[in-house]
Amino acid sequence: MPNPYQTLGVPPGAGDADIHRAYLVKVRESPPERDPQAFQAVRRAYEAIKTRRLRLAYELFNGEPPVLDEILARGLRSASPGRPDEEQLRRVLLATLTCPAPATTGPKKE
């Protein structure tokens, strides 16, 4: 299971009330009828850390190592997406504009 604190967007020291609030926000963002998978992930995360006892149990017994996707997400998280400047965009266009393959290789009727 991905880190439940990250899934709910709360810091590791969050309390019951904060976690519950974050859970409600996430459920509103991903309600079950619209995004069942995301909802299930949010629900699982909440059930894992909703009380003090559960949080301590998670701390003690969670030994799930990160998978590659999680590491990528962590390493590539950006402050904000960027945009190319004019020069870069023109350069990209010049390098990548695509020539369509011809329909026939023979000469067309002149």
Binding site: N62, L68, I71, R83
Partner: protein, 844 residues
């Protein structure tokens, strides 16, 4: 001076592979045509050029022009646009053909000859328009104009749409790059619907959506026409940027440098992140902990200190060799964390002693710490974890006291954990330690006064201790909170009836009636009320009460009537030690005609599926009087599903005779259904213990069919049944050692009876034994068994039995000569032995 005749000049011809001039131009033409048809354009060009040296025939010129066109297209396909354009020019010169062509125009553009391309377009606009190619040419010119193709716009007519709309498109590009969203919208609106820049509009919009609405960005890209210059490289880069992270990373690798750079910019990745990405892209999903730990270590600056320490630490579970690297990179872990990780590592290894020891160390470490609520909670959690391992797979009666002590201690540290109370109550109750169970009931009730689970546990514990009044008290409390709780009513009904049986057996009818009255209060269904009336009826019968018959009949109807109702009566009778046939007769219910129907059997089977396991011990006695209609109903018109349900029930309830009958009848309707074959052979095997060769064959075929159908349950069952044939060592039910054989045979015969025993031998021996049995006759067989049962020797018994036959029946001999028979101990021929055919003894 004599004029030297000029010899014909010897031409030095270089032959390309595949072209062999055979002397006549017509052969060379065929070969060159073949090269052209096969797409070997360079060979075709060379071939046609050679031919054209001998004369400018139209078909050769045509061929050469096609070969040049094909060669140019090949080069364009490899993005060698300059070369493609050059070939096209050679084609025009060699074949005296006009240069302008939409393909040539595009190659000029993509090859960087923008001005020339624009000039060509301008001069041949009418031709391009006639061929329907003007729009495509304009789109490509527009794209290169935007990209900064030098000299392009100057060569165009100012009214041409490429030039006319260029301003708006450029302004939109500038607005996007400057982050001016309103400006971008305004400029995009200025681009007309059919403008050559229309797909640039989609492309630019999608760029704007990548960060906030990646799905929207992808949808816009899908609207770009496939032959648009924006469709390939540019759209691909934006598409990758819009993907979720894992796919984005793997597709990012496939882009060219500019495309990767664009994605990096759109994502806002730093140089360090790009390096991380390049490093990570060589690691496959599912990579070992060692690789991931190395990746984390190399790029720890990107991850955040807390996260990376925890993530890297968790990677040590399953990769203990990584500790040194971890300590070097992230510093020594706190002792508690290190011990915790070691314990989790031991859990992965699976050695229960090591697991307990490791968690015990964690506990010790926690105990050394200053007291706090969290510390106590942690200790309680660890104690429960240790207890979990100790209790796994243990029966309640045999649980080690330490495991229970750990759970109990956890409650001292954390008294608010309801599941632990419930667990302790159940473990103590099932282990027969009722005093301890009651202690925890009291403790749980003190903390969780109105909890239904605690009250239910209290009811069950009170019943286990025969404290029926107490149980009733708890139950009433529970029903106040949860009026329709079916579990508690069922428990109390059972308990009341149990009391009733006890009092009936002890002859205490007043108390029995009281218990039955109590039971009536808990009966939540007609069937339950029927059961109570059956017990009342049996009690009344014992007392000689005339109303017994009516009560019994009423009870039977309430319990479902027909076979089911009668079975319920017979079960109650069996519980009270009554004789089943007598009860049926006393109740006037001995008539079973008309009950051999599909509906009766299905209802009976449904009831038997719900019968509690502890009641199964009465089933033999209860079912015997009903065997007649049950057996008769074997051939009723069940559906395949119903048949399987019925057979499954006979299997579960170990009724092999009924299973054999029902499966056999069903196989007549659905021959070779694997599940039915399994049921039949299983039932037979239950009777004969061993599988005959025929049975093995049938099961093997059924196994194949079951595997084809994906019927895993039947496959598994057949494999288990076949056992030895599947490589499982056989369990010899009669471990043979010569001295035991007679005893074993006698034992088997005694248990099974003569006819049944012979049936078994026939099953094993097949046609041969059938023949022998026919020859011997059952009487002789019985005689043989008598000799065996009284301790006789097998051979002696056989000799006596077979010797008494006299001359064998016609066809009984196998044509082997006499004289090979045994001669007896004296060495003289034994007349008894001499008179029979030794082949008759082959079985033994």
């Amino acid at each position: 001076m004599t004029r030297r005749r000029n010899k014909p000049r010897q031409r030095r011809t270089t032959y390309r592979k595949g072209i062999r001039p055979e002397g006549l131009p017509v052969d060379r033409y065929a070969t060159t045509q073949a090269a052209l048809a096969a797409g070997r354009h360079r060979d075709a060009i060379a071939g046609f050029k050679e031919l054209l040296k001998t004369g400018r025939r139209p078909e050769w010129l045509e061929g050469l022009s096609q070969a040049y066109a094909g060669r140019a297209a090949d080069l364009a396909g490899k993005r060698m646009f300059k070369e493609a354009a050059a070939i096209w020019e050679q084609r025009a010169a060699a074949c005296d053909l006009p240069l302008p062509d939409s393909r040539y125009l595009l190659w000029l553009l993509h090859g960087g000859r923008y001005g020339q391309a624009a000039g060509l377009y301008r001069e041949n606009l009418e031709t391009l328009a006639r061929g329907g190619e003007a729009a495509l040419a304009r789109e490509h010119l527009a794209a290169f104009a935007l990209a900064g193709g030098e000299g392009l716009l100057d060569a165009l007519d100012p009214d041409d749409p490429v030039a006319r709309d260029h301003g708006a498109a450029t302004a939109a590009l500038v607005a996007y790059c400057g982050g001016d969203a309103p400006g971008l919208e305004a400029q995009l609106r200025r681009i007309p619907f059919r403008s050559p820049y229309r797909y640039f509009r989609q492309f630019l919009k999608s760029l704007g959506l990548v960060g906030g609405d990646p799905e929207g960005a992808t949808r816009l890209l899908e609207r770009i026409a496939p032959d648009s210059p924006f469709a390939g490289g540019p759209a691909r880069a934006v598409e990758v940027a819009a993907l979720p992270l894992p796919q984005c990373v793997s597709r990012w690798q496939e882009l060219d440098d500019e495309g990767r750079q664009l994605v990096t910019t759109l994502k806002g990745w730093s140089t360090a992140q790009v390096k991380f990405l390049q490093d990570a892209s060589s690691i496959l999903p599912g990579a070992a902990a060692k690789q991931l730990l190395a990746l984390l270590t190399r790029h720890r600056g990107l991850m955040g200190q807390d996260w990376i320490r925890e993530a890297a630490a968790n990677l040590l579970i399953g990769h203990p060799q990584g500790w040194r690297q971890f300590n070097r990179s992230f510093g020594q872990l706190p002792r508690l964390t290190a011990l915790r990780l070691s314990a989790l590592e031991e859990e992965k290894e699976g050695d229960p002693f090591a697991i307990e020891a490791a968690w015990a160390e964690v506990l010790d470490e926690l105990e050394r710490r200053p007291d706090s609520e969290d510390r106590r909670l942690r200790m309680a959690l660890v104690l429960r974890r240790i207890s979990d391992f100790r209790l796994k797979g243990e029966a309640a009666r045999h649980i080690h006291p330490e495991a229970l002590a750990e759970l109990e201690r956890s409650l001292e540290l954390d008294p608010d954990d309801l599941p632990t109370y419930l667990r302790l109550i159940t473990l103590h109750r099932e282990g027969g330690r009722l005093r301890q169970a009651r202690r925890f009931v009291a403790a749980a009730l003190e903390r969780f006064t109105d909890d239904s689970e605690v009250l239910l546990a209290a009811v069950e514990t009170a019943i286990a201790g025969n404290a029926f009044k107490k149980a009733t008290g708890y139950a009433k409390r529970l029903l106040t909170l949860d009026p329709i709780n079916p579990k508690v009513k069922g428990i109390l009904l059972k308990a009341s009836l149990g009391h009733g049986y006890k009092h009936i057996r002890a002859g205490r009818s007043d108390l029995a009636h009281k218990a039955l009255d109590e039971a009536t209060g808990w009966a939540g269904s007609e069937a339950a009320r029927g059961r109570i009336n059956l017990v009342r009826g049996l009690l009344a019968r014992r007392a000689g009460d005339g109303g017994a018959t009516a009560l019994l009949q009423q009870g039977v109807e309430q319990a479902g009537g027909g076979l089911t109702g009668r079975l319920c009566l017979l079960l109650e009778a069996a519980r009270l030690g009554e004789r089943p046939h007598a009860i049926l007769k006393a109740a006037g219910l001995q008539q079973l005609r008309g009950f051999d129907t599909r509906e009766q059997i299905l209802a009976l089977v449904e009831y038997l599926h719900t019968l509690a396991e502890e009641d199964a011990k009465w089933l033999d006695a209860a079912m015997t009087p009903l065997h007649g209609p049950i057996r008769k109903a074997a051939g009723a018109a069940y559906s395949e599903g119903e048949t399987e349900r019925v057979c499954e029930l006979w299997l579960r309830r170990e009724r092999s005779g009924l299973l054999k009958l029902y499966a056999g009848a069903a196989l007549k309707r659905w021959p070779e259904r694997p599940a039915l074959v399994y049921y039949l052979e299983y039932a037979r095997c239950e009777e004969t213990i061993l599988l005959s060769p025929g049975a093995r064959q049938r099961l093997a075929e059924a196994l194949e069919q079951a595997q084809k159908e994906g019927d895993q349950r039947t496959t598994h069952r057949i494999v288990e049944l076949l056992g030895p044939a599947m490589g499982v060592p056989p369990i010899d039910p009669f471990p043979y050692d010569g001295d035991d054989m007679a005893e074993d045979l006698a034992g088997a015969m005694g248990e099974l009876g003569p006819e049944h025993f012979l049936d078994i031998l026939e099953e094993i021996g097949g046609a041969e034994f059938r023949e022998i049995r026919k020859q011997l006759g059952d009487e002789k067989a019985a005689e043989f068994m008598e000799i065996m049962a009284s301790g006789g020797d097998v051979m002696e018994a056989l000799v006596k039995v077979v010797g008494g036959l006299g001359a064998p029946k016609p066809g009984g001999r196998r044509g082997k000569s006499r004289g090979s028979a045994g001669k007896g101990r004296s060495g003289k021929a034994d007349p008894a032995v001499d008179e029979w055919d030794p082949d008759q003894l082959e079985l033994f």
